[in-house]
């Protein structure tokens, strides 16, 4: 199996892929990027916190026009994962308003982004519908 790296450092690969936030030790605010101090309470101590892999779509858009080199259409969404908001694409779903719905239950999944010259694979994440019926709804 080729070596793998995550697309972003807050994606943990392995048997059960999941996201890990930087959680403020003072107030519990969560961040996916590196922070100098907490934007909510100004505390400077952070700990790692695993984010739930199941969630609900709170907002989405189907992007039809994007920068050159970005394949369209794709579904961009804000997913509520047990109280932690996550920005992600919705994947394994037909990108049209008949198949993507507000409030839809989804779960985290991973996919291959690409392979570099050393043969290392970059792995990204997205959310897919929790349950699919025959017509994909």
């Amino acid at each position: 199996m080729p070596e793998q790296v995550p697309l972003v450092d807050y994606l943990m690969l392995g048997e059960e892929p999941h996201l890990v936030a930087n959680e403020c030790a003072g107030c519990g605010a969560r961040y996916f990027d590196r922070r100098n101090a907490c934007a909510a309470c100004f505390g400077t101590e952070f700990r790692k916190a695993a984010v739930a892999t199941a969630g609900e779509v709170r907002a989405f858009t189907i992007v039809a026009v994007a920068a050159p080199g970005v394949p369209v259409p794709f579904v961009a969404a804000t997913v509520d994962c047990a109280g932690t908001s996550v920005k992600a694409n919705l994947v394994n779903v037909t990108p049209d308003p008949e198949h993507v719905r507000l409030g839809m239950k989804v779960r985290l999944t991973t996919y291959l982004v690409g392979t570099d010259s050393a043969g290392t694979e970059a792995i990204g994440f997205g959310f897919e519908p929790l349950e699919t019926t025959i017509d994909g709804q």
Binding site: A59, V65, A67, P97
Partner: protein, 401 residues
């Protein structure tokens, strides 16, 4: 009038659209000289200049402008605050006058944006030879299209959808009907970049940019400038009656940034800072939303206009859809919103927008709105929001005399 009140003495907006033969400084000069002429004063009296131009924010537009309209040695503040840049320039001039450091202040916002295309996307970075984590998220490749979207139409689409998820009642058609209203309003505004009325069907069947925003539901990139001269009540008292009669009172001038909210690192929260600014503005002005005769709000996308009905408290919390369905925001409704045509048809030359919306309100308060005059308008509100985020809210009142 109270001595420490702030007044707009004169204001000017250029035609919005394509200005192939004018550069950024030409447009700024046209707006600034127009505002001075409208005020009946000259550069010699200005004690402070605040100027904004976002696309060349490091170029010192204020000093460039002075070279063309008058170098008097006064302090210049070049400001940049995303789409709230114009409002920030105005507020800077107001603060200088309010602080007693200047009798008169000039604020200018200008942008050349025709043909700029899609704003706000991070162009996908070509994959390196080998994956190397970069930046605060340790990303090994460009994230646009892999981890959601940063395009403006996509971000604001989600902001509208989020409102729909929270309160219900939204649909592609509802958002398109908001756009239908603004394009209909634009037919009465000769300074608008586009004055074409669209049918609902035309709007919905146009090119989809980012569902549910089609092309006519997005703000139009264009060129334009706007400028205003502000002064204090104590100075205004010394001026001729005609200048006093046409002066417009700035009853509230508020600028806010986005306070921390759980989801704000993921989807910008344009709601809390707008609501905070509106609350402060109503309190400063001593007016309530029901007193407003017209509102110019930041409809950068049709999906954005809906949430700002609620954020500006033009309706009950959660009641934006009902507010729109009631016909209230049409020009013959109870709270006309964007009678200028809004950013979707008037156009959105970014740094000019936060003064141009105030120009629009002033036209009505002065009874100079011509074909689109809102009869008897006494109080109006102008709102802008720049992602990042910054929100400007100004409440304006007609002179008592």
């Amino acid at each position: 009038m109270a001595s420490d009140d702030i007044w707009i003495l004169g204001i000017h907006m250029t035609k919005f659209g394509k200005h192939k033969d004018k550069d950024t400084v030409d447009l700024a000069a046209e707006a600034a000289m127009g505002a001075l002429a409208d005020s009946g004063v000259t550069m010699k009296q200005m004690g402070v200049l605040a100027a904004g131009n976002l696309m060349a924010a490091n170029a010192g537009i204020g000093q460039q402008l002075q070279k063309q309209i008058g170098q008097t040695g006064i302090p210049v503040y070049n400001v940049a605050n995303a789409c709230a840049t114009g409002a920030t320039a105005l507020r800077t001039a107001i603060m200088a006058v309010k602080a007693g450091e200047a009798d008169y202040g000039l604020a200018v916002g200008v942008e050349k944006l025709s043909g700029a295309g899609l704003l706000g996307q991070q162009a996908a970075r070509p994959a390196d030879d080998t994956w190397t984590p970069r930046g605060r998220q340790g990303a090994v490749a460009g994230l646009e299209g892999h981890v959601g979207t940063g395009t403006m139409p996509g971000v604001f689409a989600q902001i509208g959808q989020e409102y729909g998820h929270k309160y219900g009642g939204t649909s592609f058609e509802l958002f398109a009907r908001i756009s239908e209203k603004n394009h209909a309003h634009s037919t009465l505004n000769p300074l608008a970049a586009y004055q074409k009325r669209f049918t609902l069907e035309e709007i919905m069947n146009d090119i989809m940019i980012s569902y549910p925003n089609t092309r006519p539901m997005c703000s139009a990139n264009c060129d334009g400038a706007a400028a205003a001269v502000v002064t204090s009540g104590s100075v205004l008292k010394t001026l001729p009656k005609e200048q006093q009669r046409r002066a417009v009172k700035v009853s509230a001038s508020v600028l806010t940034s986005d306070p921390w909210q759980e989801a704000c690192q993921v989807l910008p929260d344009v709601n809390t800072l707008t609501r905070n600014a509106a609350k402060q503005a109503y309190e400063q002005a001593g007016v309530s939303p029901s007193d407003l005769d017209l509102v110019e709000l930041h409809d950068c996308f049709a999906t954005a206009e809906l949430v700002h009905y609620d954020n500006l408290m033009l309706c009950e919390e959660g009641g934006a859809v009902d507010f729109f369905e009631s016909g209230a925001p049409w020009r013959d409704g109870s709270t006309p919103v964007n009678v200028s045509g809004g950013l979707q048809s008037k156009g959105h030359p970014v740094a000019a927008t936060g003064i141009a919306n105030i120009w629009e309100v002033c036209q009505h308060l002065r009874g100079e709105g011509r074909d689109r005059q809102i009869e008897g308008a006494k109080v109006g509100l102008a709102h802008v929001i720049g992602l990042g985020s910054a929100c400007g809210v100004h409440i304006l009142e007609r002179a008592a005399a």
